[in-house]
Amino acid sequence: MTPLTLIADVVKILIMVMFVLNLAAILTWADRRQSSMIQDRIGPNRAVVKIFGKEFRLAGLLHPAADGLKFFTKEDFMPPKADKLLFTLAPMMAMAMVFTLVAVIPFGDTLCPHAFHWNGWRFWEGPAVQRWGTCAADPGKGYYPIDLVVAPLGVGILYVFAMAGQGIIGAAIAGWASDNKFSLMGALRAASQMVSYEVTLGMSLIGAMMIYGTVRLDDMVRWQDEHTWGIFVQPLAFFLFFAAAVAENKRIPFDLPEAESELVSGYFTEYAGMKFGMFYFAEYAEVVTGSMLLVTIFLGGWSLPFFHRDGLLIQFGNATVVQALVPHFWMIVLNVLAFFGKVLVVCWLQVVVRWTLPRFRYDQLMRLGWKILLPASLANILVTGVVWLALDKAGLAASDGLKLAADLTQALVAVAITVGVLRLLIGFFGPVKHQRDVVGSSAQIAAKRGGTKAEPMQA
């Protein structure tokens, strides 16, 4: 432990916690605005801040801030017969588990301070580091390799399961302590649902663990960086994990614990003010951590196709197309941006899914969990094992073929990302066509005025 590593630890914790906190707040905004875009509405855009007499609406981004202010100023109500200790403890537990979970999620490759150009201020001009192996510590100069993960735990994903499993306790205690039938029903639903889907959540990852040969999340990403993204070797597990993760987050279509049409709002019916805010916030933070896990295990974590630790290397089989070394500093920046960018995309996808699907019935939920997802995840383990053994026995030719296939999938991802971004850009600047129907005197008056005027422009 040197001052440098201590500072690095603090910075890493700040990055992770701030990212989760802020993204959770932004997700509440995204949930509202994105749903409105999906449903052809404008959405909330009225929260306003006045600076020097000018009004700023920031496209509704101030609504989460207004929510937070409201949470803090509301009465901290507690039902008279509630269990005071547990009632207060429950939101803390719900929140704490989410934030302990992010400790093991790596957001970048191991950082080697040696490779930075420390002489002078242009420290980003250092050399590229080696692709394989980690840089050795240099205690003389005070250089230690820094893992870009808060706690590089050897148990990795097992810790994630342990912490994700504790999420039930907050919900269950909240429902039990609030002395309300609806809350209790919600808590029971939450408990049974989360226990059921926890099984699938764990089982779906066993195939991935077998292939990666590790439970450490950063080693999983390194395997994917070396070969191919996990979604290509474990496609079924990806969907199983995605479904189970959404169910763990208690979001639509699995939001039965807080089904507002049946249970008011489930286990946090009796909560108000910041205690409710903590549950609300924990739910969105769970979306972020779920996305982080999904990205880490199935979508290559920090790695980008063809980019490795030392730079760009486009290679098909043994034929090298392009090779370029990139300074270590820029590789780290690229890695971190890639990780957080992927998390944003997966969060966005989760919100789209949330606003598309209807809620399951409770028996359907249980049937899906126990009779479909769990057997499918078990079958996935079996098939993965058989295929893995077969390929292991097949020898060199098969491994060469796999290497080529892996490179092709990397090319596929690279092409898909490029085409997707281009398609978005082209679509964005394409012509806008509207269907004009001037029918009736009302529309004719508006047409005479040159359209419906909005004096202050809408955000």
Binding site: D40, T356, V432, Q435, M457
Partner: protein, 219 residues
Amino acid sequence: MATPTFPKKPAAPLNATPVAYAPKDLEVKSYLPEIFRGVGVSMRHFFENTREMLRGKRPDPVLDRYDDGITTISYPEQKRPYPERFRGIHRLTTRTDGSVRCVACLCCSTACPAQCIFIEAGEYPEGDKRRGYERYPVKFVIDELRCIFCGYCVEACPCDAIRMDTGMHAVPYDSRDQFIYDRDLLLSFEGRDGSYETRNPRHEPGEKTHPGIDREHHH
């Protein structure tokens, strides 16, 4: 003992259109294709609407109201114009010289089913050429809270003196006496064409078009 069999009643004719359910084949049962289709629809709307929103090219909420995009009217800032024949807050029209056109004949207050119009008639002063020919309203009060906006007063008015073409709707106030609109207030509203008069000409005594009939000189 054999169970007795009863002749089966023929099924009653169906008085409804049977709903065509989607066949429960593997594609439907496996959820995924439909989920992808649904997510695709959501994404299409999302991208399309976000693009129009960011570029500020939303469909006009009145002119393009059948468009697929966001056609929400942000009410206080944006307003859908009321249709041409919308009956809004009343106004009292004026003559060309700016005086009130109403002759206090009480036709409107008589026709009013809500009895929300009160008129106190007054004679023009001695020497005025209208004296003996017509009167004028000293008070003309409409209780806009009682008014049911049926438009009978406008229909009843023989002089086109009261109209409901302001294009304004009833305004929210915080006390009832604010809804009592008096003569001067009603005179201060303009029609949707921006004029305080009407397009129907008025024939004053002494003008060429005046038929020359009054209380003293009639047929």
